[in-house]
Subunit: 163 residues, 2 copies
DNA sequence: GCGGGTCACTTGAACCGTCAAGAACTTTGT
DNA sequence: ACAAAGTTCTTGACGGTTCAAGTGACCCGC
């Protein structure tokens, strides 16, 4: 009894590559961030997204969208980062249902401290493998896949503009 | 104080897309597999890799390589799948250090049962977003990234051949 | 043949993510 | 003006992943 070969050669290659990247890349970047400061890739991303927002704050649900995470996961992580003094929760003035997460000055300083090493790792583990042309192809193809997974993902609204 | 924009536009797009795919894709496929049978994407992959091996078995370390996982992670999962009767551990006849994982008939039957739905999900969530040309580009680019992350990854030894 | 080094794997604890449930508030329909 | 439904977020329990340490087994030089 044999497993039917349901994907053709290119499809299989693409799928297996994505699968490997998926486990190898986060683990490589996580370990860089974890030795540099005690942060995970996700922690870093949460803070990075806040640092790029006007006023360094965002409602939880928007932050969840920008980190592609569930509200539940985000809530746990925000609690953790809040305990370290890097973030602060505040109620929204006009809608009492929403909580906004604010990046503190200490949080910002930590991020600025971590950023160069992290970007360096993103380059050496990922971008340096590719030519400019390939980076562009990957961006285009990647965004098509994201669109398929989440029709109105925030990334897709900024393909030409300024976050 | 502003976060320096250390990545150019295409680099940033590619990076954010990979990051999103990374969290969105596994979760979409996990949930399909979890409702179809009670398996995770990783569980499925472990069994799929065994099903494609000669004799439906592999040493733990080879299986770890083919699923891009740590030995520790694999060991825990194999224990779980063993309890369900889908896998079996056996000692290697010539080297007492190595343990081989064998896919049982029941495990194979489960896999065959799950396969069509899973492949369908891989197509609808991922491959259907792309043209043949793009699938080929992605396979090529993806393998370059994998090579950067793990020099002698098993995938890279089979780009034209038969597993 | 035996001691040090390496290899293949396992285990338990700590940590992280997911899920289901629920609390607090706002909006909608009548 | 009120109830029903929807939104936003939090929580605790559960299961999965990682990390550090440990257990045998093989290999190499002497």
């Amino acid at each position: 009894m044999i497993e039917p070969r349901w994907l053709n050669s290119d499809e299989r290659r693409a799928w297996l590559a994505i699968l490997s990247i998926n486990t190898l890349l986060p683990s490589a970047l996580d370990s860089q961030l974890h030795t540099a400061g005690k942060v995970s890739l996700f922690d870093y991303n949460v803070m990075a997204m806040l640092s790029e927002a006007e006023g360094h704050f965002l409602p939880m649900s928007q932050l969840a969208a920008r980190t592609s995470s569930s509200l539940s996961r985000l809530s746990h992580v925000v609690s953790k980062l809040e305990k370290r003094g890097w973030l602060e929760r505040r109620p929204h003035p006009h809608d009492a249902r929403v909580t906004t997460a604010h990046l503190s000055d200490i949080g910002m300083a930590t991020l600025v401290d971590l950023a160069p090493g992290h970007v360096e790792a993103v380059r050496t583990k990922f971008l340096d493998a590719l030519s400019d042309r390939e980076v562009n192809d990957l961006a285009r193809i990647g965004e098509k896949i994201v669109a398929r997974l989440d029709d109105d993902h925030w990334i897709l609204r900024y393909t030409d503009g300024q976050p």
